[in-house]
Symmetry: C2
Subunit: 210 residues, 2 copies
DNA sequence: GGAGAAACGGACTATGGTCCGGGAATGGAT
DNA sequence: ATCCATTCCCGGACCATAGTCCGTTTCTCC
């Protein structure tokens, strides 16, 4: 797929040469982890199990992925990348081509669905305490861009973060799984929220801080 | 059962009589936990340490508090109760007596401060995955009430939850401790958010502007 | 004082994460 | 091509900690 004209995939400046066995093991571990997560669900997967499945020592996993969260983040990477691609270059209204407001109103429910779909995995991939940083910061960046495009004034980074916060996995999980609210209702409430935030009227909002 | 007219303070219908030693141990454990959390911080406190400090077996702690999170919730209880009292019956603008909007705008920053102050403890008190249910549902209830009082129309429970979500400990911790944003800026952004949400203009939402 | 129920406590298990001695891959020298 | 020195990696024993289990102890009520 990648149009690299070189035999080895992009040595990338002075990338410290990766030993062949290391790469092989990394792949084996990731592969085993993906399979196990698919079969048993993220929170039933233990590191020892992954190690055994990949025929690899436990230490190897931790050296390559740092922690359980790191491994889960790697497992998650595929679908998360797909999501980001759909946002960046997919068809409207999620992708470019639609009005920024439309794109925003499409983004929330889509992110919500994504969060519910991969809930366990996303939580497992969250750093010790906090959300999965990569996924989160992409969302903030995108929403912030859309808000600017729409012409919203104010502290855009924090406004974007505030719009994303109600979609966080623990929040929506509690609402859906504990309170039993239907997903459509969450979606509707979120778009309502977004419209309220975006709605013109300049409530105050000083000039955006640097 | 029969309304037992016993001399002990409020047996509460048919409360199963609590054995004296059980109560004593419970107190000892809680006391030790409070002290240790105060001295070392919530995440340096292990169950074994608490057990040793309270001169009690580890099993006893788990029987009484269910889990580490349960114990931490009990430790947290004091300050959380204090916070709720200030909201329910304290002086304005947080307490009753001020306009609902003023109360709302006071509530957010106060909750924010509370969350930053007891961040570690609040996270430790959160159930396996999710927020501390008691604190959260109180906040939702209160904000929901204020929104109704202000005359906001729409899905109030979810709107309230959406207003509270950006104040969640993991979110604000990341913003303050990782990104280094000043607390005042978070406060300002939240009140801006609240004003936007409350601002009249009926974007759509449900009918019944009460 | 005795019977029965409840609680105690610490050994035990499960799991994430660390450490370090042994060993293989790599690149250069012969 | 072979061999050697270096470097990095491997793997599983080891540790810390949350949570469970069950024989023993202690309380309560009659």
């Amino acid at each position: 797929m990648t149009p690299t004209s070189s035999p080895v995939p992009l040595p990338l400046a002075d990338a410290p040469r990766v030993r062949a066995d290391a790469a092989r093991n990394r792949d084996a571990v990731l592969c085993a982890a993906v399979r196990l997560v698919g079969d048993l669900g993220a929170d039933a997967v233990t590191m020892d199990r992954v190690a055994a499945e990949a025929c690899v020592g436990k230490g190897t996993i931790f050296r390559r992925f740092g922690s359980r969260a790191g491994l889960m983040a790697a497992v998650l990477d595929g679908s998360e990348t797909g999501f980001q691609e759909r946002v960046i270059s997919g068809p409207p209204p999620l992708g470019p081509g639609a009005d920024p407001l439309e794109r925003l109103l499409a983004f929330g429910p889509e992110r919500l669905r994504q969060n519910l779909l991969h809930g366990a995995l996303l939580e497992a991939a969250a750093a010790p305490h906090g959300r999965s940083l990569a996924a989160y910061s992409f969302g903030v960046l995108h929403v912030r861009y859309l808000l600017a495009e729409i012409g919203v004034a104010g502290d855009l980074p924090l406004l974007a973060s505030a719009l994303l916060a109600p979609l966080e996995v623990p929040v929506v999980r509690a609402q859906v799984e504990v309170q039993g609210l239907p997903v459509e209702r969450l979606s509707a409430a979120w778009t309502d929220l977004a419209r309220r935030v975006v709605r013109p009227g300049a409530p105050r909002g000083g000039p955006a801080p640097a």
